[in-house]
């Protein structure tokens, strides 16, 4: 997918702010994978994530005229996406990954045992992430899956930089505890 040049994105934003749906479609096309990744990690469920992504992009469309040019559209979208994911979870609480069958196949070339192991690991990781508090989860997801810097997370979630660090430290400590068995297995494999 072609990544729009910064100026092109700015031009598309201006057009979309005046109601140009095609321009907005271009923006969505570019940011969809990142937004979906963030909401999926927040929700832990493909269907919920689809709903959250749709809600997020509709919310963004409705509020786009008030978007201030010169600020990061990606950060703004991620913030809306995090909120949309939390809303979807609250609206429709559902136990994600009821069984391993619902998980996607990580590597079609791998043997059945490796696939099963991979799926178990994925399930454990997703459940561990979901066990975090919403605030810590949002920071962790934006950092690990959104690739945002601390400053960007701080701006996106409207929290101080120190809070970003402390929530991230808390989330990582908690995940290390919860994922200790998977982590050990992974080390054994790599060894």
């Amino acid at each position: 997918m072609a990544i729009p040049h910064a100026e092109t994105e700015a031009a598309l934003i201006v057009k979309a702010q005046t109601g140009d749906r095609n321009a907005y479609g271009e923006l969505v096309r570019h940011h969809h994978p990142g937004v979906v990744n963030v909401v999926y990690r927040m929700c832990g469920d493909i269907q919920l994530a689809e709903d959250a992504a749709q809600d997020a992009f509709i919310q963004a469309w409705l509020h786009l005229p008030s978007f201030r040019p010169g600020t990061s559209l990606r950060n703004w979208l991620y913030r809306i996406a995090v909120n949309a994911a939390l809303d979807v979870i609250r609206r429709e609480p559902k136990q994600p990954f009821a069984d391993l069958e619902t998980l996607s196949m990580p590597d079609p070339q791998a043997g059945p045992e490796a696939v099963l192991l991979q799926k178990e690991r994925t399930l454990a990781v997703q459940q561990a992430i979901l066990s975090l508090t919403e605030a810590s989860r949002a920071v962790l997801v934006l950092r690990e899956y959104g690739g945002l810097s601390y400053q960007e997370i701080s701006a996106a979630l409207d929290i101080p930089l120190g809070t970003v660090m402390s929530r991230l430290n808390y989330a990582r400590d908690r995940l290390k505890e919860l994922l200790a068995p998977q982590f050990n297995n992974m080390e054994t494999e790599y060894a």
């Binding site: 479609g25 509709i58 939390l86 196949m105 991979q118 997703q126 605030a135 979630l157 430290n169 290390k176």
Partner: protein, 209 residues
């Protein structure tokens, strides 16, 4: 051994430390096995998080965009950008500055002209500036009523008090305008600083708790 740097390891791992803290953490890591192990654990965790299967069963982007475009509601009407207001906003500091310069020039010129007139340098050319005989109301009244009774010393004291009063009035007037302009300018600066802070632009309701 110096204190552990556990609290900074996350930021170190994410490349978010400033140079001074970075040197401190690197120095500590070079000699602390415990913190090294902690860092390796953090790196392993990040690898584990990213290694887990990505969600590849999502609607393809093109289909998502097509569906979304169909479902987009009408954007709410936005008020037209208030350009005149914006221009007016930026004119405020220049107007304040202009008024300050004008007042400074006016006060300075009038002081110079009066001084020149008092010393007779300009003859009677500036007599129109002195339509007012530089006497306060209370001074005129007292002089009219008791002028002949209070003697030379009393008149000198009254004259001195009259001059002091005029000086204070003049100074107070100048100070008032300067203070008013300074407050206006500082008020504008404060508003500008508050306006330039990025707005939250948050249509959501993320809890900060």
């Amino acid at each position: 051994m110096p204190k552990h740097v556990t609290e900074w390891l996350g930021a170190y791992h994410d490349g978010e430390l400033n140079s001074a803290r970075l040197r401190q953490v690197e120095g500590h890591l070079a000699e602390c096995a415990e913190c090294q192990a902690e860092l390796e654990g953090m790196q392993g965790l990040s690898a584990l998080l990213r290694e887990t299967a990505p969600a590849d069963e999502f609607l393809p982007t093109e289909r998502f965009v097509a569906n979304l475009t169909l479902n987009l509601p009408r954007q709410p009407e936005q008020p037209q950008p208030r350009k005149m207001l914006e221009i007016g906003w930026w004119l405020i500091p220049f107007s304040v500055l202009g008024m300050w310069i004008f007042l400074q020039i006016t006060f300075s010129l009038s002081s110079l002209a009066l001084a020149a007139s008092d010393t007779g340098l300009l003859g009677n050319n500036l007599s129109w500036l002195q339509g007012n005989p530089l006497q306060t109301g209370w001074f005129v009244t007292i002089m009219n009523l008791f002028g002949s009774q209070i003697g030379f010393t009393g008149q000198s004291i009254l004259s001195f008090l009259n001059d002091s009063d005029l000086f204070i009035q003049n100074l107070t007037g100048q100070f008032f305008w300067q203070a008013l302009l300074a407050v206006s300018y500082l008020g504008w600066l404060a508003s500008w600083w508050l306006r330039r802070r990025p707005p939250s632009q948050n249509p959501g309701n993320f809890s900060q708790s």
